[in-house]
Symmetry: C2
Subunit: 129 residues, 2 copies
DNA sequence: CGTATTGCTACGATAAATGTAGCACAGGAA
DNA sequence: TTCCTGTGCTACATTTATCGTAGCAATACG
């Protein structure tokens, strides 16, 4: 992948700049990461329950993300089984909780019938050039 | 991929539940998406400048993300060239701007030297089971 | 004309995700 | 004990996504 894996600090993708925001953006920008945090936002879930909540995502990735999130200190296993957010994780979750409200607003705004429908039909003439 | 691409609304991965938050989490959970929004947060950038800012990510993905973000209404091309956030995109960016502060806090907390260092060396005995 | 920028694309190589199957372990009946 | 069920977790072959390099057409300036 060229990025990351340089030597130590496999840490997170295009980060390496030292700025923690980059590491965080990278970690959260992996498949299912945001979703996992979202699904755990209210109560802990068993690995299987989490899988169900995540649209039956393959256990391989889920396990990988769970490990990353645990290493990051956002998620923990809970001695009785079941994954839950750590205090830090709960904190993070609340940080992007406003996204929920934004998402609702987004759906309604939708400046044009975008995001759904064929991959850019015609509709608008080529922009420039 | 099984997920998405069903028929219409190729929209976003494990979404389909109708809940816009899922679509949003999915869109943002793609590689470089968060990073792109972050890099555009202050001023518009040309495609090449954006590429530089994004650690020389390959133009293939960048272009793909840019297209998705434009379809979502978060980014626009700007008639003079250069990508910039739409009002909606600026709104979204501010929504997860607190992440910046959180990231700083995260770096300092770091309940153990996690996230960096070999992929889980030994360190701690197997957890359970 | 040449040169340099722009946004954007092709395409082979590589890394990551998917889907299915299954493991070892822990409890609770029977 | 044995059987059943649920847990966290892994193997592995297939499919997708991303990478990295190269290059295109269009625009602008000299």
């Amino acid at each position: 992948m060229a990025k990351q894996a340089g030597s130590k600090t496999r840490s997170v993708r295009g980060s390496r700049t030292g700025r923690p925001i980059m590491a965080l953006l990278d970690l959260l920008g992996r498949r299912w990461t945001l979703r996992i945090l979202w699904e755990l936002r209210e109560q802990p879930l068993s690995s299987r329950a989490l899988r169900s909540a995540c649209d039956e995502a393959s256990p391989t990735v889920l396990q990988a993300r769970l490990t990353e999130l645990r290493e990051a200190g956002f998620v923990e296993l809970g001695d009785g089984g079941g994954y839950g957010l750590t205090p830090l994780g709960r904190d993070l979750c609340e940080t992007f909780m406003p996204l929920h409200r934004f998402a609702e607003r987004w759906k309604n705004s939708s400046p044009s019938p975008r995001l759904r429908g064929e991959g850019r039909g015609e509709g608008e003439p080529p922009r420039r050039r």
